[in-house]
């Protein structure tokens, strides 16, 4: 044994970098990726564009019966705008964004050759997946939060917002209405996490981020079609898209919790399934 090797062996080797350092580095990297920023900005503009549209349409559509059309519901009911924006985006835009971030997280790093660098550090494979899941979940949360903020501001400024006229006909105070907006944001975030978990699982099986997006898009479309077929109603509780419909319950008064709770459980199942598959794959994957 050479003297140098002895010295090197005498010093205890630190086997892991601190977790918070890895988490911060991951967020820093994800939030500096131009794609991420563009998608967040685009999502933030969805409720703004809708708000402007409804404000313009609302002024010329006073003749129609109020409360029968979306623009009728939203007119003078500005706090409904962030809820509208989030629920509409949950049907396609947000799940696709979540899937894209999950695609970049593992498949993207794999195709850029950067996953190797992390594995060689080494970061530990289970920890790698945990950090990746954290990064995707955080970006999702940021996107939904930004949408909620821009939607609320736009709604209040353009459509007016003292309180909220619910779908059940009652009126909520501003505090209650904002509570409903926050609840919507929380529910939507969890449902996007579920999609992202599945997408992350797919992401561990391929080097091509586009494959993940294609699978996510295909799944959403197929599930939506299956969900519309009455003869298959036995299948509906298992579809990830079914759970999304429960989010609209937030605009009823009093708040029906059954559907919302079931929806959350469905999302939780998908999160567990997604991360279990991803973990099993990451532990054995060739880097």
């Amino acid at each position: 044994m050479t003297a140098l090797a002895e010295v090197a062996q005498a010093v205890p080797v630190r086997t892991r970098a601190p977790l918070n350092r890895f988490l911060r580095s991951e967020l820093r990297m994800v939030l500096r990726r131009p794609r991420t920023i563009i998608f967040i900005v685009g999502l933030a503009l969805v409720p703004v564009a809708a708000g402007i549209g409804f404000a313009v349409a609302g002024n010329g559509a006073d003749d129609g019966p109020p409360g029968m059309t979306i623009s009728g519901i939203l007119d003078g009911n500005g706090l409904m705008l962030p809820i509208f924006g989030l629920v509409v985006s949950l049907n396609m835009l947000l799940p696709l964004s979540g899937a894209m971030w999950a695609a970049d997280a593992v498949a993207g790093e794999s195709s850029a050759g950067t996953l190797r660098g992390l594995l060689l550090a080494p970061v530990g494979r289970a920890r790698l997946l945990a950090v990746k899941a954290f990064g995707v979940a955080t970006v999702t949360t940021i996107a939904v939060t930004v949408m909620t903020v821009t939607g609320t501001i736009t709604g209040v400024l353009l459509l007016g917002g003292d309180g909220m006229l619910t779908m059940s006909g009652s009126t909520l105070g501003v505090a209650d209405a904002l509570g409903r907006v926050l609840l919507t944001a929380a529910l939507v975030t969890v449902h996007v996490w579920a999609v992202a978990a599945i997408a992350l699982a797919v992401s561990t099986f391929t080097d091509h981020p586009l494959v993940v997006l294609a699978v996510a898009l295909g799944t959403i479309v197929v599930f939506t079609v299956l969900g519309a077929i009455q003869a298959l109603d036995w299948l509906h509780p298992y579809l990830i898209t079914t759970a999304w419909q429960s989010v609209l319950d937030v605009v009823r008064d009093p708040l029906p919790l059954d559907g919302i709770t079931t929806g959350l459980l469905q999302a939780a199942c998908y999160v567990v399934i997604g991360y279990s598959i991803a973990l099993a794959r990451v532990l054995t994957k060739d880097g």
Partner: protein
């Protein structure tokens, strides 16, 4: 130079019966590799000979189908957590985020580097960039880097902290002659500091200039390994005779039971059973015009040609950039 040992040499890396099968393709088979501590080991082999696959298994990136691996005395991949922090590696070309600068890319790797304390991250990144001559381009986006700069950044990542073993897969790929010289200097510095270095290369001259040990891989198997000087000494001596009368010269030598074969511009004579003066005398007596006689340089190239048994692979090895990825990931 590396310290002289008595008794069994300690090994920085060791494999026994290493085998990797991708579906129906056998990428690596029966690889018994010994990397002595302090050595600079050159891994040679034509494209697809299993160099990169062997390195990836050694570093725990790929699970072997069969066989044992020891890295710095610990079994891989079980001991990855303790062994890998002491290993720096550039595998399968540099892999970085195109939208980040070289500095930010290294910062990210430094953040997950177990050996670096948080306060040492920035100085370590600065030093690594300076060491590979990238300090000026540190804050430019990786996307805009030339191939050589990308390769240098990969080298910087491997050298982020002092290592006991540095593994460089095709480190000179895409580098200009100046860059190649710098890599040679880096390897020499590492060697002088007692670091074990494994370097795979398709440039035979490169390996000959920098390595103390060589392993030659061919079709997934080790066909030769050992100290470079020993391997070269075992090569048979020969001379090349420049002559226009090739056919006559070959016939003369062969009738005297001396191995001879035509080479461009002359004849190559085997000296295992005879000496240079007697070959020349024999040819002169037979009336062959001899313009020049020179000792055949028994370089790595000859060794390699003999071991892998085909000239085409040598040409392959000498000119084609090695994309030794075995096509599977």
């Amino acid at each position: 130079m590396g310290p002289e040992q008595s008794g069994p040499t300690p090994l920085a890396a060791r494999t026994r019966g290493l085998r990797k099968v991708y579906r129906s393709t056998v990428a690596v088979d029966h690889v018994d590799l010994d990397v002595p501590v302090g050595a600079v080991l050159g891994m040679l082999g034509p494209n697809g000979s299993g160099k990169t696959t062997t390195i990836r298994m050694l570093l725990g990136l790929v699970t072997p189908t069969a066989g044992e691996i020891e890295l710095l005395g610990a079994p891989m991949p079980q001991a990855a957590a303790t062994a890998l922090p002491q290993v720096g590696a550039l595998v399968e070309g540099p892999g970085f985020h195109p939208f980040l600068s070289g500095w930010d890319n290294l910062l990210r790797l430094a953040a997950v580097e177990p050996q670096l304390t948080t306060g040492r991250i920035r100085p370590a990144v600065t030093e690594a960039l300076e060491r590979v001559g990238l300090a000026d381009a540190a804050h430019r986006r990786y996307k805009g880097y030339s191939l050589g700069m990308k390769q240098r950044l990969g080298l910087a990542a491997a050298l982020l902290v002092p290592r006991r073993l540095v593994v460089l897969d095709e480190p000179t790929n895409g580098l200009d002659p100046a860059g190649t010289r710098e890599v040679r200097t880096v390897i020499a510095d590492l060697h002088a500091a007692g670091t074990t270095v494994m370097v795979s290369s398709h440039l035979l001259s490169e390996v000959e200039a920098t390595c103390t040990h060589v392993v030659v891989l061919h079709r997934g198997s080790v066909v030769a390994q050992g100290a470079l000087t020993e391997l070269l000494e075992s090569t048979d001596a020969s001379i090349v005779v420049s002559t226009p009368d090739v056919a006559q010269a070959v016939e003369t030598l062969r009738s005297a039971r001396i191995g001879a074969r035509p080479v461009p511009g002359g004849v190559r004579a085997d000296l295992t059973t005879t000496t240079a003066p007697s070959v020349v005398r024999m040819l002169a007596t037979a009336g062959v015009s001899v313009y020049e006689v020179h000792r055949q340089r028994t370089g790595l190239e000859d060794l390699f040609a003999r071991l892998t048994g085909s000239l085409s692979t040598v040409e392959d090895l000498g000119t084609a950039p090695d994309t030794d990825h075995e096509g599977v990931r």
